[in-house]
């Protein structure tokens, strides 16, 4: 007796219909890299997987005006190889290239990474920095919300039964903004982030920061921009003192959110270094 059934959707409409079919619990299957590990250890919490990995509408990567749209079933490899994303979302591309190894990147999807919502998920810091909106659809209609609202806690999101994360959208960052992502793991591949961080920044003609985005990963239960730190830098010349202070402030914000845990002694020091480092790389010429 199989533990669950499998069905492949050809379109978003079909996927939504399958997900909403009464009498059985259906869940979307994107890349499967999280689901298959989960069901190795736990009872499958569904009766049927709806494979959405080949739905063309979910595979788009395109620019619409001043916005970039990325489908939920886009794999890490597809994102990393996209000329558009390389141009406008370099920090996301860098993050995708640090996920697992090549075989994981070929199957795992951005939508899956976000819906799984691990605190250490590598796509979250860059997507957060990019002010990403999450677009959801069900037979009841569409919903759109900020990524930071969508993720409610470790492995918890606002997604409802029968709903599909169809795509992400984010505004094209201003011209000349530089983007950086750094992942700190216990080895150089196939590693869970011990800490990660993404930053976007730009200097104006006077050498003052006129655009700053900073978001750490594996640091807090939900992803968020370190707006407190961004505010310190906006309009300022990024001196050594200021960058060091920004690192210190990053650690303070993290601890204010998480309190002191077993790992804080380490992360407090490391996030200072990483925050200072990414800000330096995007703001100092």
């Amino acid at each position: 007796m199989p533990r669950f059934d499998y069905v492949r959707a050809g379109s978003v409409a079909e996927a939504l219909r399958l997900l909403a079919e009464p009498g059985l619990t259906s869940r979307p299957l994107a890349g499967g890299t999280d689901v298959l590990v989960y069901i190795r250890h736990e009872r499958a919490p569904f009766d049927r997987l709806v494979d959405i990995s080949r739905v063309p509408e979910l595979k788009i990567i395109e620019r619409r005006g001043n916005e970039v749209v990325v489908g939920g079933a886009v794999t890490y490899t597809e994102a990393a190889e996209s000329p558009l994303l390389r141009q406008v979302a370099a920090c996301l591309v860098e993050a995708c290239l640090t996920v697992g190894g090549p075989a994981i990147r070929n199957m795992g999807t951005l939508g899956g990474n976000v819906v799984n919502a691990a605190a250490c998920a590598d796509s979250l810091p860059p997507l957060t920095c990019l002010d990403t909106m999450v677009h959801l659809r069900s037979l009841a209609g569409e919903r759109t919300m900020a990524l930071s609202e969508f993720i409610m806690g470790p492995n918890r999101t606002a997604i409802r039964a029968g709903e599909l994360l169809t795509h992400f959208s984010f505004p094209v960052p201003p011209d000349g903004a530089r983007q950086v992502f750094i992942k700190l793991g216990r080895r150089n591949a196939q590693a869970i982030s011990r800490l990660s961080i993404a930053a976007i920044g730009r200097l104006d003609g006077q050498g003052r920061a006129d655009y700053v985005r900073l978001s750490p990963g594996a640091a807090m239960p939900t992803p968020r921009r370190l707006t407190e730190v961004e505010a310190m830098l906006l309009g300022q010349v990024p001196t050594d003192e200021l960058l060091i202070a920004a690192g210190v402030r990053s650690a303070e914000v993290m601890i204010a959110v998480t309190g002191r845990r077993w790992s804080t002694e380490y992360k407090e020091v490391a996030i200072q270094a990483l925050a200072e480092r990414v800000l330096r790389r995007v703001l100092v010429l």
Partner: protein
């Protein structure tokens, strides 16, 4: 359910339950035991195969996900005479093989790399192998073998 796909360049159809992995399908339904099970959670790459031109861990692919796809396993990597191809030959020549359990996955990773990047640097080869664990070789002779294969294929182009 009936799963139809292309396996090592042959159209196949197999009746199998929907909840097994591609790894189980290959090993237990097709008796293609060259694809190895090392961890079952996508960490070691011993089960790596090429699906639609991309390296995947067959332990993290549901068997029905392969439907309609083109799958190549180590049994599908052969030279014109049915013996080892040039990369397999180089694995022998360069001493890339010790216990051998990771080798099918390594060769799949090497072939997948050369499909997309025919002239990789040693660093790029290492990155392409980063999801395939080897406990015997320290990877160096595996990198040697793939590098030599790329060079000779480029030369013959």
């Amino acid at each position: 359910m009936l799963i139809e796909f292309t396996l090592n360049r042959k159209r196949v159809a197999v009746e199998a339950p929907p909840d097994i992995t591609l790894l189980t399908l290959l090993r237990d339904y097709f008796n293609l035991t060259g694809t190895k099970e090392g961890c079952s959670v996508g960490e070691c790459g011993a089960c790596a195969v090429i699906m639609d031109g991309r390296l995947v861990n067959s332990c993290l692919v549901l068997a029905p996900q392969a439907a309609g796809s083109e799958v190549i396993t180590i049994e599908g990597i052969r030279g014109p005479d049915g013996g080892p191809n040039d990369m397999q030959e180089n694995f022998i020549t360069y001493g890339a093989v010790q216990c051998g359990i990771c080798i099918p996955g390594m060769i799949m990773a090497g072939e997948a790399l050369l499909m997309h990047n025919p002239n990789p640097t040693r660093a790029e080869i290492r990155t392409a192998l980063a999801g395939n664990l080897c406990r015997c070789t320290g990877y160096q002779q595996i990198v040697d073998a793939i590098e030599a294969t790329a060079r000779s294929r480029e030369g013959n182009r």
